[in-house]
Every structure is written in C-alpha cells, then in structure tokens.
Amino acid sequence: MNLFRSEEHARRWAQFNPASEAGFISLPELAGFFGTETRRHMLDGDYLSAWFPKRAAERREYLTRIGKTSPFWLGTPDP
C-alpha cells in the first residue's frame, strides 16, 4: 500500500502487480478511507476493545460508498 507520484509512476514500479489496475485510490478518497470514525478514537483508552472491532465493517461501508466494491478491495476471494 504505497503512494506514487502518479498512476504512471506506479505502473512503472518494478514490483507493480499487473492484476492491480483496480488498486488505485485518490488522496482525498484515501484520507476518507483512513479517516472514518474508529480512526478518530485511536488515542482513546478503550480503542482496542471498543473501537477496533468496528473497523472492518466501517471500512467496507466506506469502500462501497466510493464504488470500490470489487473483491480486490472488499477482501473477498477471487472467483
């Protein structure tokens, strides 16, 4: 999970996975993806027990909202 100067730079990366064309995400979407509610509670004393368990569902909801609904993003096995 890396940052690149542009999509073209990512495609030129020696370790670029040709099956990862769906793997691009804009910086605003990325900031939203990693800025959902649970993330805002990482400094809370009960983060591990109260907030972290909610993270997976929250991530799926956000990805769905921005249209990243493929198995690649949602983590379901390839057909």
């Binding site: 100067r5 730079h9 990862s20 400094l43 591990l48």
Partner: protein
C-alpha cells in the same frame, strides 16, 4: 475473556501507541510490564494477546519486538512522518500514513516518501484528517494486492 483482562489489554495498547507517539519507537514488553504493574513474563504474554487482537500490526518474526503498530511503525519505512518540524516517526505504509493525522490532534502532520518508481518525493500534509497539501498534485495511493483473503504477499504492499 474477563473484563479485567480486556481492560489490561486496552491499557497496554494505549501505552504502546502513546510510547510510539512520544518517542518515535515502540516500547519493549518489559517496559510495558513495569508501567502496568505486571511481571515481565506476564507483560510479554499480554503483548502477544494485544497483537493477536490487533492483527494489522505485527512483531518481528521469532521475537517479542514490536515491528509494526499501525498507523506507525517501529521498523523504519520509506514513509517518514514529521510534526512540528521534527521527523522521528514512520508510518506502516502509504495508506496508514494518511491516518497518522489522528494521533496528533491540531497539528500539521507531514508525510514524505520517495516514489518507488523514480525516487522523487511524494509529500502530503494533513491536519485533523484534512488534506492541506499534496505534491505532486497527481499523487495517488496504490494497493498492489487485494485486501483480505485475496491479498498477496508481502502484506505491506
């Protein structure tokens, strides 16, 4: 799991995160044990329990050393984090780098990383979750393998 065990795991989690924020490195389990009023071995076992409950982080293989505790990393990565002009933190990956902002409320968090294609810098600044600066403007995030069961290795790609 007993309520007291859950609370102790929460306390250790908080200590690790706080230690990373304050010093730029993860604490050792012996330090954590002392801070929590536990024996060293009890602290070591609790650390393993915490890492099991927080599987997006990991210990260095075959050790009890915290290598990764996202969004920050004990082991240096190319994602250097700067706050108040001080650059002593590393993010686990480029994606987690955009989450570090939540560890420094009210502060401008600067992420600097070399592009893995050309080595030229990618720079992102954020405050309280908001993007303040992205250079170059076309910078993107990229997931090289899918999440979850379909993902490949290594996990940080």
């Amino acid at each position: 799991m007993a309520e007291s065990q859950i609370q102790t795991m929460d306390r250790m989690f908080h200590r690790i995160m706080r230690g990373l924020i304050d010093t730029g490195r993860p604490p050792h389990h012996a330090e954590l044990a002392r801070a929590l009023g536990l024996g060293v071995e009890e602290g070591r076992q609790l650390l393993h329990a915490v890492m099991s409950a927080y599987p997006i982080g990991w210990l260095h293989p075959e050790t009890d050393y915290i290598a990764s505790f996202p969004p920050l990393n004990g082991l240096p990565t190319q994602y250097r984090i700067g706050v108040r002009g001080e650059q002593k933190w590393f993010a686990q990956c480029g994606f987690e780098a955009t989450s570090v902002t939540w560890l420094f409320p009210g502060e401008t968090v600067r992420v600097e990383a070399p592009c893995l294609d050309c080595g030229d810098p990618v720079t992102v600044e954020m405050r309280d979750g908001q993007l303040l600066w992205v250079d170059p403007p076309d910078a993107v995030g990229h997931l090289n393998y899918g999440f979850g069961p379909s993902r490949g290795r290594p996990p940080f790609l």
